[in-house]
Amino acid sequence: MVSDKPRIVKVLNVRDESKTVRSLIFEDDICSKARPGQFVMVWIPGVDEIPMSISMTKANGLAGFTVRKVGEASSALFDMEAGSLLGVRGPYGRHFTPIIGDVMIVGAGTGLAPLMPLSEILTQNLSSIHMIIGGKTIDEFVFVDRARAILSKTKSEIIITTEDGSYGTKGLATDAMEPILKEGHIDKIYTCGPELMIKKVLEIAQVFSVPIQASLERIMKCGIGICGSCCIGRYRVCKDGPVFDSPKLEEIIGELGLFKRDHSGRATII
């Protein structure tokens, strides 16, 4: 059985999430069983192959990922239509471990993608979620309606923050953490988004002694833990991550939000 080879799938549906963000939904039994936080290597024939977080899984064999149009590969994905062919291999990597209890989720932008299926499981577990969604400005938000629908199933809340104050509370997503952590007990914090935000989440969580799980991103080539392109400290984001627990995050805090490696393996400032 050969598993690390792209399986060709047809895009069934393309959903606009914002002006620059779209979700692509396809049929693939294996991906539909992905755990929240896992990713797939998506092959766009003739263009590139890039890692994408699974943002949606359905019991009927459907799965989806969500892409923001930034570079060549993501723009090619963004421009795909129903009927386009893609290759997928995976899902790969360590996933979030949903708990039962009071949790906090801090996300921003397309970093929310893996946090959506996570929230679905958390609310099925009857966990209460304090979800903080941050952004620079009102135009950037994705998944807010979907999050509201998921969170309506339990005693949960959504807090929106924007840097310019155009939506929700003015400030950073991490500014909204402290009041909640001071008010009541939080069992676990889940986060995904810009690395500086993740670093701040980790620092605040340390102050309140709350364990966290964060999903990280690096340039990936193989996706299966052998090429080393995605290394951060002594870890491989593709195999030891992309979801990391507090102890490992504390170990790599010297790199977190500071530098990453380019395609040549050279360390560059983030």
Partner: protein
């Protein structure tokens, strides 16, 4: 009974275990290389470094095929000066670190070594056998005069052991090994990957962005074993076997045909980083069962038949 002795020496490189990390795998970060060493590798070989920075090929750079993997990473590397900084970031004197180098001519190799000379690098491996980058790999290996120049230039620049990694894509790998020995190589690493392709039949196109890549994994092991066997009959310097080692049985085969050490790369894709400890234990159990006190006692035994 005492545990069998797995320690080996290749020139001045002393290893507690004969299992090395093959070049190209996890080898651009010093922290990752150290982790592989801590996970049981006797020595670790870096990703091949060239004089200039290279971004490598676009993805897909790897694809699984039946019995192995095909890759065309494209010798991506940060360039020698940047890699010098990488190696200088932490103490490496306790690390059995082998630096793999590639280049198109002898002056590039000697310049790279002069940059690394002051560091505690334990040995060098010359990658003159990459199957998928024009001008830097197999083409070098095919040019006897160039191979001679490169090895001589490198030996002039360093006292440290120099391994030469050969390509199975050559018509006569034995002659290439003899030549390397004649001009002063301290060991031969056989083999690099095999030129190969994989096509997606749905979209009718090659899967790798570079179209052609190098094949590794269990599917190439019998060929690599044959290469070691033939070279062992013709050269006296140590041979480092490389090609498709996933289990301890694979490793034993290589020792029996004459390998002093073996390298593991693709095996990590199948078994994870615990592959080193698992194979090490398997070798110890085998030696105990066979009543051998040292790994050295079985090297080359297959030649008695």
């Amino acid at each position: 009974m005492q545990e069998p002795d797995l320690s080996i020496e290749i020139s001045s490189l002393k290893m507690e275990s004969p299992l090395m990390l093959a070049s190209g795998i996890l080898g651009t970060s010093i922290e990752l290389l150290r982790r592989v060493f801590e996970d049981g590798a006797g020595a670790v070989v870096t990703k091949s470094i060239g004089y200039e920075q290279r971004m490598g090929y676009d993805n897909p750079t790897i694809v699984e095929v039946y019995g192995g993997y095909l890759n065309a990473i494209g010798l991506s590397n940060p360039g020698i000066k940047e890699f010098y900084k990488e190696l200088s970031r932490s103490k490496i004197d306790d690390l059995p670190l082998v630096v793999s180098l590639f280049g198109a001519e002898s002056s590039e190799f000697s310049e790279m070594i002069s940059i690394l000379n002051e560091l505690e690098v334990k040995a060098y491996e010359l990658n003159i056998s990459c199957p998928h980058v024009k001008g830097f790999g197999v083409e070098v290996c095919q040019d006897a005069k160039l191979v001679e120049d490169i090895i001589e230039a490198v030996k002039k620049e360093t006292q440290k052991p120099v391994f030469v990694k050969l390509s199975p894509n050559l018509t006569d790998i034995v002659n290439a090994a003899k030549l390397a020995e004649d001009v002063g190589a301290d060991a031969i690493t056989v083999t690099n990957t095999f030129k190969a392709m994989s096509i997606d039949i749905e979209t009718c196109r090659p899967i790798l962005a570079n179209k052609i890549g190098g094949l590794s994994g269990p599917v190439i092991k019998p060929i690599a074993v044959r290469c070691v066997y033939e070279i062992y009959q013709n050269v006296d310097i140590p041979i480092i076997g490389c090609g498709g080692v996933v289990d301890w049985q694979d490793a034993i085969e290589f020792f029996l045909v004459g390998a002093t050490a073996i390298q593991i790369g693709t095996g990590i894709a199948y078994k994870g980083l615990s592959v080193f400890e698992k194979i090490k234990q398997g070798i110890k159990d085998y030696l105990t069962l066979k009543g051998k006190s040292s790994l050295r006692d079985i090297v080359g035994l297959a030649h008695g038949f």
